[in-house]
């Protein structure tokens, strides 16, 4: 058990945006909300999943909707408390703590706001170990945990309690409600017991985000040492350095899809990498051959500062590094690949683990 202060929050915001693989929202608004909340209510207690009681009850909190709306219309602040109390009442249980659904600039920060406002602990785990675009794309889903009963609310005070027949229906109905609420909402889903947290979550994700953020935000003379250290703690690979030559975007099925093309720099001169995304980066290929694919993490970072770059801010001329990290093993299971593998997103590729692709490349 320990407490998260302002410095920790700054680090977590950056590290979580890195693990957000292009999605999960711009860390700035999230960070500001979290900083305002702890300024008002004091530091937040962070518990490891091992420290919670098996029978205690926990619910995550997350923003659902368009990150691009969130930079203009952000929450009122009491949605978090409202949605928690409503779901607690409905379930007739006392909520003993909260945790993030995914790692991302905004969604790693929301549970900190909730924990600060309600005076409950934050649990050091999440349901993805990265960011994904849909509600059923969490490890709890893989293990048969129901996403409902869930609560959804907006800044105006509209509130809904929903029970669905399966987790994909939750995504479908909640997505429609979110659009009506002004393309952003606050959701509390996958209520679970301490025991389930211990078994099914991706653990220590907040601590990992914090460490990543610490490395990225540190000022050092030797930039290559910084990169080495980052890869070391994430078991990651440095795949490519390039300059963005083209960003092709289109909106299909209400998602932000597209492809960014990079021309190699320095050691990668003459080579060419494409990264395909749907809010999050999903497939990277070099000269037409796959380099890394979902559910493994594909992270684009600034060439010099290593600051994560969200898909929204990809821009011609930017110089970036392509890094990739192996996903949580749960995603590499059969049901994991079925839920978030390349085929689910419409890419005609069979999932090959990152380590194997890297071996072939060498």
């Amino acid at each position: 058990m320990r407490y998260l202060n302002e410095e920790a929050i700054e680090n977590i915001a950056v590290g979580a945006a890195f693990l957000g693989t292009g999605g999960g929202g711009d860390p700035y608004i999230g960070k500001m909300m979290a900083l305002s909340a702890i300024k008002e209510n004091g530091p937040v207690q962070l518990l490891s999943p091992e420290e919670v009681e098996n029978d205690d009850f926990f619910i995550p909190a997350a923003m659902m909707g368009a990150p691009s709306v969130l930079i203009e219309k952000f929450p009122k602040g009491d949605e978090f408390v409202r949605v928690f109390q409503k779901l607690g009442q409905y379930l007739n249980k006392e909520v003993k703590g909260t945790f993030p659904m995914e790692a991302g600039g905004v969604n790693s920060m929301i549970p900190i706001v909730v924990a600060a406002k309600l005076g409950i602990p934050l649990i050091d785990c999440d349901g993805m170990g990265r960011a994904f675009p849909e509600l059923q794309m969490v490890t709890f889903h893989l293990n048969g945990v129901s996403s409902t009963p869930m609560a959804i609310t907006d800044e105006k005070g509209n509130i809904g309690i929903m029970e669905t027949i399966d987790n994909k229906w939750t995504e479908r109905i909640a997505r429609v409600a979110t659009v009506e609420m002004g393309a952003s909402s606050l959701v509390s889903i996958y209520p679970c017991k301490g025991e389930q947290l211990k078994k099914y979550s991706v653990k220590n994700i907040i601590t990992l985000s914090e460490k990543i953020g610490q490395i990225i935000r540190s000022n050092r003379d030797d930039e290559s040492a910084k990169l080495r250290e980052l890869l070391e703690i994430t078991n990651g690979y440095h795949l490519f350095d390039g300059k963005i030559m083209d960003v092709d975007r289109n909106t299909m099925g209400g998602f932000n899809r597209g492809c960014v093309t990079l021309d190699g720099l320095e050691n990668y001169l003459g080579e060419n990498v494409q990264v395909f995304f749907q809010n999050e980066n999903l497939v990277a290929q070099k000269n037409g051959k796959p380099l890394a694919m979902t559910p493994d993490l594909i992270c684009l970072v600034d060439l010099e500062t290593l600051n994560p770059i969200t898909t929204e801010s990809l821009k011609y001329g930017k110089r970036v590094r392509v890094l990739a990290l192996p996903s949580d093993p749960q995603w590499r299971s059969e049901k994991g690949i079925e839920t978030v593998g390349p085929k689910y997103f419409g890419y005609n590729l069979s999932y090959t683990p990152l380590e194997e692709l890297v071996r072939k490349e060498v």
Partner: protein, 516 residues
Amino acid sequence: MYKIGIDVGGTNTDAVILDERLKLIHQVKMPTSEDIESGIVSALKKVLEESGIDRQKVTHAMLGTTQCTNAIVERKKLAKVGVIRLGYPATASVLPYTAWPEEMVAVLSGEYRLACGGYEYDGQLLSPFSEEEIRRILKEWDGEVEAIAVIGVFSSLKNDQELRVAELVAEVMGEATPVSCSSLIGSVGLIERENATILNSALFKVIAMTSNGFENALKEEGIKDAQVFLCQNDGTLMSIDYARKFPILTIACGPTNSIRGASYLAGIKDAMVLDVGGTTSDIGVLTGGFPRESSLAVDVGGVRTNFRMPDIISIGLGGGSIVREVNKEVLIGPDSVGYRITEEALVFGGDTLTTTDIAVRLRKAEVGNPDLVAHIDEEFAKQAYEKIAVMTEEAIDKMKTSNNDATVVLVGGGSIIIPRDLKGVKEIIHDENGAVANAIGASISQISGQFEQIYIYSQISREDARKDAEDRARQQAILAGAKVDTIELVEIEEIPLAYHPGNATRLRVKVVGELK
């Protein structure tokens, strides 16, 4: 027909005269004065007298100034601002002035209210706008604040509420009370746009002083019929009336002018520009004759904005940078003798070793008295010179977007210290008038207009949306003084918005034209 360009920098006020073919007729450099106005008057007087041109034939006068930047950085001469954010109950989780430097908030009074109003991403009302509520807030503030900043959620989509607030301010607090509407200032991103709008409001007094000073100086020197402009940070001009409404646009126009002036002197439109001053060097990138804009949020005096700013890096290397030997290693800067170089550098009889002394010792430059630096060990001088080269090369490399060797245009008073043979550089172009590149940049600026909005492509065709955005950008440019038939489209950016049905897309359009 003549144009006069004036640049008021921290150290010098430069003035140049160009003829109708934009040929440089004359240039002067005078010290910047405490009150700004008398410095402008003396530079203007000198350039007019020495060139002997007919004052009646001056058709345009342009001013580039750091006054607004300095006011923000020094927290001086700023107005007390009342901030109205329209959008309650949304957005209350991050209040106005969050993460601002505290002393800055105190200077601006820190007054704000969250009122009902604002829009959703699709143009529906977020919460009902109440004139009653706005009137009440304004009455409470009467006498307490000097200017109003109004920021509506998604006002870049619809800004009628913001404009209505401006009318109510005139009604309740009087016509003379300045109002800044965020929709006319920034783009999507509420916090950054709000910050820029608040800063804009805070600058009304400063811009009034500067623009009046400029107009008075021109009048005093008998220039009566010229069109008068101020420079913006994107290399374009605005009319003095426009500048009075949007003083924030003058922020960072200095580096922009130097990049544009350098481009003009060198006669090229794509290059890197190295502006070497007394204390620092700025490096910017010229693309198609305009400075490359920064894609990051920009901090102005500790306040985050999403302002259009040139992408510039500054390094602590200039003509007055102090050279030392520490543990057998040569160190350069970041401290500098600055404007005291003509007293303190060795070549001018002073006793501080500067980068200029190193250049003179190695016979790379001819200023002052070379005998006064003859005693410097040649090996040491070579090491220092090499260090200057490395610092410059590293900075140039950081700004590059490709691995190709760059063409570098070298300007600024301190440019004599820069080695002419640099790694990663194809060619260095240097002009003897480079010392007044800023003032030249000011006098050749163009007029631009920009528009940004979210369009829903299932309701309006992409073509019509682009046309609409371009028309509105053109109107902005015409309002700022552009010649209608010279306006051309220079930038178009489309960002589809995630999760939105109906193909909602953020469209940003920028046009530029020659001035009337």
